[in-house]
């Protein structure tokens, strides 16, 4: 162990020659687990894997190995991105390529392992094998990079996610980790680093898309005795789990990016602000920081370069608005997480009044690659105005739920249909929401839109942090808007009145149009209608008069669904109909008198006593009492109940 660390430090990190000697290569192969003596079983054990039952799979594997008396190592790795197919388990036999299996639940373990150890692969669960030089490939097994989910992707930030051991600094360094950082502190001044990053045209991935290098330069050029770096991992918008997945799967990559950024701006302290609930990500990150410190890559006088860096973990107590940079700073200072006025921008006066740079996790994870391969290399990837790649999470009604990375310039059609595998259960695509509650919807006709900051802005949407939520024909656009407005309304910090009160009014109005008014006095009807008339205006006012991005983007979802799905709103308002059948209170059920046997089952179950009738005679639903809950519909054995 000691030995390995010393080897990695002296022969690998401090050795900046392009090619290693044969001897070093051989040793690296061992540390990369390419040369092994006993089999290794890698189990995808990040949040998604664990929920799918990875822990049970691991104990089944242990039982199997014990019973068959096979010696093998089990390593818990992160997520390769195909969350829908978890638990994913890779097996590597000495001399053979690593092979990956999907949906390996505890009951499938014996069967699959039998197959692998006897050289007869059961094909149902095979995901594919990795392309590895010098290792023998399996016959008749496809390569994992040929699977459509991976083939269209361009993985930079996610390169080793789910592949390397997230709790082993040795493994990370053996795969080229921390080389960029060591190169940086030995060969570049902080000013050089700012310039290189500026030249790469890397834009912030946290939402605003501001050029990272430019921002760093401002902090770098502001005179101060102390500067801070803050890594923004608050990520609280529903449907996004990029940062969490990256940290769980490859925490050292982020530490390396943070270390380089801190060096560039001259910060001795770096904070990471991560939501308290992400316990696995926090514990993996903490462990990684300790390992890096023990290795001498963090702490005082790093590798005798004179550079000091301390990384502090701040557990965010759960507020969406704390993702906004100035609110985050308030929260780190121990106050309510409320946004402040800008300017002064945090790059000039931020945390504790000192110059502070706030960057997103994904932004920082790009840095090591830029430092290692140069800005020109990075500039070749992507489009004219957007360089590099972008990570997205796919969720909702899509087949391949998960986390994916594509080159800028890829269109959403490819992301949804090729990588995402299209819509679940044979349904049809209706729209996708990009950027969570502050985002906009992209409709079917516009799926040819490219992943590009400018192009997305021209369409009237925002890239956001990269959450894609896919909706099919069973999603009601009014309902989903209501859901997002409800979220914003709860998360509004309360500082600006238009945002605090306005979003509440919007929610109320939306709630009213998804209900059938009952027992309504005439002035209430008037108010309801006035609300409908004013909805669009409120949305505009909130947008124009709020201080921070939360309020400024609060009405995005509403305005974009109204633009593209106005007919659905009108149907709700004028016809009291929800075509997706989601708005339960707009449904009214009827009984088909020819089919009803009068069994009385529905009448007994109805919570509103809206069904009347005599046993053995057809029943009847009192329309004014029915709330559309659908219990009778589920209860009826004779399909006599229908919705109109």
């Amino acid at each position: 162990m000691e030995n390995n660390l010393q080897f990695l430090k002296e022969k690998v990190l401090l050795n900046q020659t392009a090619a290693f000697s044969k001897e070093i290569e051989e040793k690296l192969k061992i540390l990369r687990h390419e040369k092994i003596i006993k089999p290794i079983i890698y189990v995808g054990a990040s949040s998604c894997g664990l929920v799918a039952g990875a822990a049970r799979t691991i104990s089944a594997i242990n039982d199997y190995l014990c019973e068959k008396q096979i010696l093998a190592d089990i390593i818990e790795v992160g997520c390769i991105g195909l969350c829908a197919e978890e638990p994913i388990v890779d097996i590597q036999l000495p001399g053979m390529s690593r092979i990956s299996f999907k949906r390996m639940f505890s009951e499938d373990v014996a069967n699959i392992l039998d197959g692998v150890f006897n050289n007869t692969i059961a094909s149902d669960n095979v995901l594919g094998q990795y392309r590895q030089k010098n290792l023998q490939a399996w016959d008749n097994v496809n390569y994992i990079d040929e699977v459509e989910f991976f083939a269209v992707q361009r993985r930079i930030v996610l390169e080793y996610n789910g592949f390397i051991n997230p709790t082993s600094i040795e493994n990370y360094i053996a795969y080229g980790g921390y080389r960029a950082f060591v190169k940086t502190i030995y060969h570049y001044t902080s000013n050089d680093v700012c310039k290189i990053v500026e030249k790469s045209e890397l834009r912030g991935r946290g939402g605003s898309g501001f050029p990272a290098g430019k921002k760093w330069k401002i902090a770098h050029d502001t005179a101060s005795d102390q500067r801070y770096l803050v890594c923004n991992a608050n990520e609280s918008d529903p449907g996004a789990f990029i940062d969490k997945s990256i940290i769980e799967s490859n925490p050292h990559k982020l530490i390396e990016g943070m270390a380089i950024a801190a060096y560039a701006i001259g910060a001795g302290k770096a904070y990471i602000y991560i939501r308290n609930e992400n316990t696995l990500a926090i514990s993996r990150f903490k462990q990684a920081v300790e390992d890096a410190k023990a290795f001498g890559l963090l702490g005082e006088n790093i590798f005798d370069s004179g550079f000091n860096l301390e990384i502090i973990i701040k557990k965010g107590p759960g507020a969406f608005v704390c993702g906004e940079e100035t609110a985050m700073l308030s929260s780190i200072e121990g106050k309510r997480g409320m946004p402040r006025f800008r300017p002064p921008y945090p790059a000039e006066r931020g945390l504790f009044g000192k110059p502070t740079i706030i960057n997103n996790v994904e932004t920082l994870c790009n840095i090591p690659y830029i430092m290692l391969n140069g800005p020109i290399w990075f500039g070749q990837i992507g489009t004219k105005s957007s360089k590099g790649s972008k990570v997205f999470t796919l969720s909702g009604k899509i087949k391949n739920n998960g986390i994916v990375e594509v080159e800028m310039g890829t269109n959403f059609e490819e992301i949804i249909n090729k990588i995402g595998g299209g819509i679940k259960n044979g349904k049809h695509f209706k729209a996708m929401q990009l950027g969570g509650p502050s985002g906009c919807c992209i409709t079917k006709e516009n799926l040819s839109l490219k992943v590009d900051y400018e192009e997305i802005a021209n369409y009237g949407a925002i890239m956001g942090s990269g959450g894609i939520v896919v909706m099919d024909q069973e999603t009601c656009m009014v309902d989903i808007t209501k859901y997002y407005i409800d979220f914003i309304q709860k998360e509004s910090c309360g500082k600006c009145i238009p945002c605090r009160e306005g979003t509440q009014r919007m929610l109320e109005i939306l709630e009213k149009i998804t209900k059938i008014p009952k027992d309504e006095a005439s002035h209430q009807t008037l108010e309801r209608f006035k609300g409908v008339m004013q909805l669009e205006k409120i949305a505009e006012v909130i947008k124009d008069t709020s201080l921070c991005g939360l309020g400024k983007t609060a009405s995005n979802t509403f305005l974009s669904t109204l633009k593209w799905f106005r007919d659905e709103y009108e149907e709700h308002i004028f016809d009291r109909k929800c075509r997706a059948g989601v708005c339960k209170e707009l449904r009214t059920f009827y009984i088909d008198v020819d089919k009803c046997t009068g069994c009385n089952a529905c009448m007994r179950k109805c919570p509103e006593t809206a069904i009347i009738g005599t046993v053995k005679y057809p029943h009847f639903i009192v329309e004014s009492k029915c709330t559309g809950c659908g219990i009778c519909f589920e209860t009826c054995k004779f399909s006599a109940i229908f919705v109109k």
Partner: protein, 154 residues
Amino acid sequence: MADNIDEIIGKYSNAGRSDLLDALQEIQEFNGYLSEDAVVKLSKQFNLATTKIYGIASFYDQFRFVQYGKFHIKVCNGTACHLSDSKPVIKELEKLLRIKHGQTTRDAMFSLEEVPCLGSCGLSPVMSINNEYYAAVKTADIKDILESLKKSDS
């Protein structure tokens, strides 16, 4: 691990304002919630008014001022779960337990919480009870789940 709140607060004797949230988190982790007693003690330690501390703590979703039940139920209402009908699950739980989300039953048996995302969107709707996950929950099953928990306890 500390034995009592005093010990936890004692650790913050040299702390500044920026450590307040950490202190609150540590107390909640230990106790399950923030008691009046704890807030009063913290206010002395940090030299801040109790109202100020309450004001900060109540701003954040994480902090609670009532104890969790023996079984703490979290229902995910993230987008994916919302699209696969998590609201009826919450409604059903509220109906059966006779509490609203954020509350604890009088016998301190169950508490209910609606959470933004449990990170398992592929298995929606998801709920977790004391960190045991239940995937693809149906409203019809909830009664049985609660009954079996009650049984397992007695």
